[in-house]
């Protein structure tokens, strides 16, 4: 990588964007204008809300007692003493009507509410003075309309007012009867809010802000990326750059840095504009004072603190890098700006649910969410804004690290796109289904293509997911469901290998393997056992299983399953089915036009994802790591069987963990083997020995045993 070329390209692309009015508007002008407008809007909405008075018709107001007074002296409002502030009292307007003539009829009263003439109609019954004098009780009917929000709110306010009035009446009676002060009020609730004012303000920002910030950094990356890829193709300057001595990686990194700069600038300008608007609102709230809703709304919009803001910027860079690389890779496919815009919708549709998590109540940052792209960052942003520094610092690295890894992977993808002449020189072509299918059938190769491999994975996931719902209702029982589920995992690659390739046996690697590979497979599985026990403990510590999940899995896995049956269902069947899919079809497809190393890692990641989708996300790590080893074994031996042996022995040992412990206990060597027999943890020397053996086997496969692989190439 020639960094002076990268810098040159970055500077040129950056300058190009600065000279483009559209980009400048989206990146700079839009965020600066947006928040003051939102701020003003919030104030105006709050003001508009305040100005609308609600009419309460009181029928038979003349029957109300003098003291305690329900209505104000002039009868146009309720008694202001029954409210927290006079301003609140003014928002309920009273119109008094005699309980005679048309207002005597219940239909007329209801009609008034229905037509919106009044928000509520309250009737003072004829026997009220009588009951009042006799210290009896009386019902006060109120007409309102629950589906009309104004009417509903008025009704609730009215009940509050009447409650306070009632308390006044009770207090008066208490005094008359000379009862102790606590007689009618045995308890009094005093809520003490532990939230700081930053947290109260933050919770409003905390919901909206991560959402806006993430969307803005995506938007800030998308437009420049489309301009730099599709736009260049459209303006006919892409080839000019491609024929310069700059390498593809240099071009991509240069463009990527320019997109990243635009994305971060957009997000930071948003941050600043939002902060200034918030500050303005808070100042205004302090100036107005009091408890009226305008100032409450404004106080809730107090800006994030400077400390939060700085951390947010640190966090934004890797997120923006992730978006920039993704956008660049996606935009490279587009032939024109117009086509580039089409790709925006799916990108947003994928991102939105990931960000909406922050708006949902009850979702807190945890180890799992910290690994999910976008969501982790959005939740961490929320924690920072709300001022929940405890959570924020605990998860800062766990969120930052995966995001950096995702960004790096996305950048690799973008470089791959730019190295693919089919992507760069794509011509517009007409697509028609039948000739296309005919051609796919006619021109099958001996191995599947990478897209077919990914399609195979996607089909396995969707088919398994759909059938899982059906299978659970068939009454097959736990074991039956597991076997049927594995059947789907086998069926998809099998069908695809026979339909899409001319050499299905070769694709699925259904060849005889040299004996030494089978031995390596078995030996490695045994050697890995003490290591995976430690690893499992580590994963359980980092991502604890919920008790509910644990009990579901225990009932499925343990139960009263006889040992030989458990071996068949949980070791042999998955070994064959999953290997055929992942080391057979998927790995063969991914090997097309890719370095073997990358193909093995990608297939292992997909294998890990299978476990995330179909069982527990905790299994991802173990599956992905073992997937790399089995992939290597499959490539070197050119056969599926050593992998099947490894997989079967590995799963078999896992199923028999308790039986093995019991066995060693009976043989009297349990203390010699396990340091913690309850949890199946081995003594350190065993672990070291296992690591040495496993390492030696990997090294042997990777470095020294390339014979079979080369013979096949």
């Amino acid at each position: 990588m020639n960094w002076s070329n990268v810098l040159l390209i970055f500077r040129r692309e950056g300058m190009d964007q600065l000279r483009d009015r559209r980009t400048l508007f989206m990146v700079v002008v839009f965020p600066i204008l947006l928040y003051p407008i939102i701020g003003a809007g919030v104030l105006q909405f709050a003001a508009a809300l305040q100005e609308k008075p609600r009419v309460v018709v009181v029928v038979g107001a003349d029957r109300l007692p003098e003291a305690p007074a329900l209505l104000a002296a002039d009868g146009s409002t309720f008694n202001p003493k029954l409210f927290d502030s006079p301003a609140e009292a003014a928002r309920l307007t009273v119109e008094t009507r005699p309980d005679a003539g048309e207002w005597a009829a219940p239909e007329r009263r209801e009609q008034a509410v229905r037509d919106g003439e009044a928000s509520a109609v309250m009737i003072v019954p004829a026997d009220l003075p009588e009951q009042f004098a006799a210290k009896g009780d009386v019902a006060i009917p109120i007409h309102y309309k629950s589906v009309d929000e104004t009417s509903q709110v008025t009704y609730l306010r009215l009940r509050e007012v009447l409650d306070r009035w009632k308390s006044g009446i009770v207090e008066q009676r208490r005094k008359e009867d000379k009862l102790p002060e606590g007689y009618a009020r045995p308890i009094e609730v005093r809520g003490l809010d532990a939230a700081t004012s930053q947290e109260i303000g933050g919770s409003v920002w905390g919901r909206i802000f991560p959402f806006l910030l993430v969307i803005m950094s995506l938007t800030g990356a998308f437009y420049p990326a489309v301009d730099m890829c599709a736009g260049e193709k459209e303006r006919g300057t892409m080839e000019t750059l491609l024929i310069s001595p700059a390498g593809r990686a240099e071009i991509v990194v240069g463009k990527f840095l320019a997109v990243l700069a635009a994305s971060v600038t957009t997000a930071v300008l948003n941050l600043v504009s939002m902060g200034v608007t918030g500050l303005q609102l808070a100042r205004r709230a302090a100036f107005v004072g009091g408890g009226d809703p305008t100032s409450q709304a404004a106080a809730a919009l107090a800006p994030p603190t400077l400390q939060s803001a700085l951390w947010m910027i640190v966090l934004l860079v890797p997120l923006a890098a992730f978006f920039s690389a993704i956008c660049l890779a996606v935009a490279a496919m587009a032939r024109s700006m117009k086509e580039g815009q089409y790709y925006m919708t799916p990108l947003y549709l994928i991102c939105l649910p990931l960000i909406f998590m922050t708006m949902a109540p009850g979702i807190e940052l945890n180890a799992f969410y910290s690994l999910v792209p976008v969501t982790g960052v959005a939740l961490l942003l929320r924690a920072l804004i709300v001022g929940d520094y405890h959570t924020a610092f605990r998860f800062f690295v766990p969120v930052l690290l995966p995001t950096v890894v995702y960004a790096w992977l996305a950048l690799r993808w973008a470089v791959e796109q730019f190295n693919d002449e089919r992507v760069l020189f794509r011509e517009s072509e007409r697509f028609s289904l039948v000739p296309w299918l005919r051609r796919v059938a006619r021109e099958r190769g001996s191995r599947p293509s990478s897209p077919q491999a990914v399609l195979c994975f996607a089909l396995i996931i969707t088919a398994s997911w759909l059938f899982a719902q059906v299978l659970l209702t068939t009454g097959l029982g736990g074991l039956g469901v597991v076997v049927a589920g594995q059947g789907i995992i086998l069926l998809v690659p099998l069908a695809m290998a026979f339909l899409l390739t001319t050499d299905p046996m070769g694709t699925l690697r259904l060849r005889r393997a040299a004996g030494r590979y089978l031995a390596i497979g078995a030996a490695a599985a045994v050697a890995v056992k003490p290591l995976s026990a430690e690893f499992e403990r580590l994963v359980q510590w980092a991502f604890p299983l919920s008790d509910a999940t644990k009990s579901v899995f225990e009932s499925l896995l343990q139960g009263e399953t006889p040992w030989p049956l458990a071996i068949v269902v949980f070791a042999l069947v998955p070994a064959i089915c999953e290997e055929a899919a992942f080391r057979g079809f998927v790995l063969s497809g991914l090997q097309a036009g890719r370095r073997t190393r990358s193909a093995i890692v990608l297939s292992a990641l997909l294998f890990g994802l299978l476990h995330v989708f179909l069982s527990l996300f905790q299994q991802f790590f173990n599956a992905a790591i073992l997937g790399v080893f089995i992939g290597l074994l499959a490539v070197r031996s050119r056969s599926l069987w050593p992998g099947v042996v490894f997989h079967a022995v590995n799963n078999g040992l896992a199923v028999s963990t308790e039986a093995l412990i019991e066995l060693s206990r009976r043989a009297g060597v349990v203390g010699w083997v396990y340091r913690d027999a309850e949890r199946g943890l081995y003594h350190v020397p065993w672990i070291v020995a296992a690591a040495v053996v496993a390492g030696a086997l990997v090294l042997r496969l990777w470095k020294f045993d390339r014979g079979a692989g080369r013979a096949g190439a």
Partner: protein, 255 residues
């Protein structure tokens, strides 16, 4: 300086499947010589030249440019060529001077050397009056001059021009052809593709006629005319095209 041997290039098309755009093309071009690639649109000229510029990888066969293999050392090849085609446009939001400077820098030229070289090139192409004009404001002729300046700024030994005159008016056409002749006199190796017979007659010492992705004939123009018994390049061209069409039809009818 340019050596092409049995070059093949296939593309994948959603409707037609694999299409061979270039079939078994071989030719050679030496310093101080303009080699003409004559053919109609879609004959495979651009694909052949894009392979030489390393942006497309050949399906099979070999191409050497300035002693480097286009597949094995693409970056070294790009360092030694100047390439200009309909697909290599001019940046809208950059001035003439900035653009040429940018590509000179990408070729790793030191600032002072680049500056002196640019003064020479701008003077040679008479571009001084629109140095600071943005690409979006340039006329077609100006853009073509900027492209030529971009192509020669690093003084490459090999120049490839893919239909450099298409879409230009006669005045600009003439000046572009004059500049290419001047470059030949400087001892450059030049490949020049066109669908214009007169340009070939005027510029090229040797010519190859390409049609349906295959070279139908190649050699010095007088020799070709004599061998096929044709009075001029135009007649020669149509004779070869008719022959290729007839062969193609009989090949399709045969199986």
């Amino acid at each position: 300086m340019i050596l092409v041997e049995h070059l093949r290039k296939s593309f994948h098309d959603a409707r037609r499947g694999w299409v061979e755009a270039v079939r078994d093309v071989s030719f050679e071009c030496r310093p101080g010589e303009i080699f003409g690639l004559l053919g109609p649109n879609g004959a495979g000229k651009t694909t052949t030249l894009r392979t030489l510029s390393t942006v497309l990888k050949p399906t099979s066969g070999r191409a050497m440019v300035a002693g480097r293999d286009v597949v094995l050392e693409p970056e070294e090849v790009r360092r030694r060529i100047g390439f200009m085609s309909a697909g290599t446009g001019v940046y809208d939001r950059m001035t003439a001077w900035e653009l040429v400077e940018y590509f000179g820098r990408l070729h790793g030229m030191p600032r002072d050397v680049l500056r002196a070289r640019m003064e020479t090139v701008f003077d040679w192409l008479r571009m001084d009056d629109f140095r600071d004009v943005l690409g979006s404001k340039m006329s077609t002729g100006m853009k073509q001059k900027v492209s030529i300046a971009r192509t020669v700024v690093h003084d490459p030994p090999v120049l490839i021009f893919d239909e450099p005159t298409s879409g230009l008016d006669v005045l600009v056409q003439r000046s572009v052809l004059d500049k290419i002749l001047e470059l030949r006199d400087m001892g450059k190796t030049i490949v020049f593709s066109t669908h214009s017979m007169s340009e070939v007659e005027r510029l090229c010492a040797r010519v190859a006629i390409i049609y349906r992705g295959e070279l139908q004939a190649q050699g010095p123009i007088p020799e070709l005319l004599a061998a096929h018994d044709q009075p001029n390049v135009e007649e020669l061209f149509f004779a070869l095209v008719e022959k290729a069409d007839a062969e193609c039809q009989s090949a399709e009818a045969a199986p």
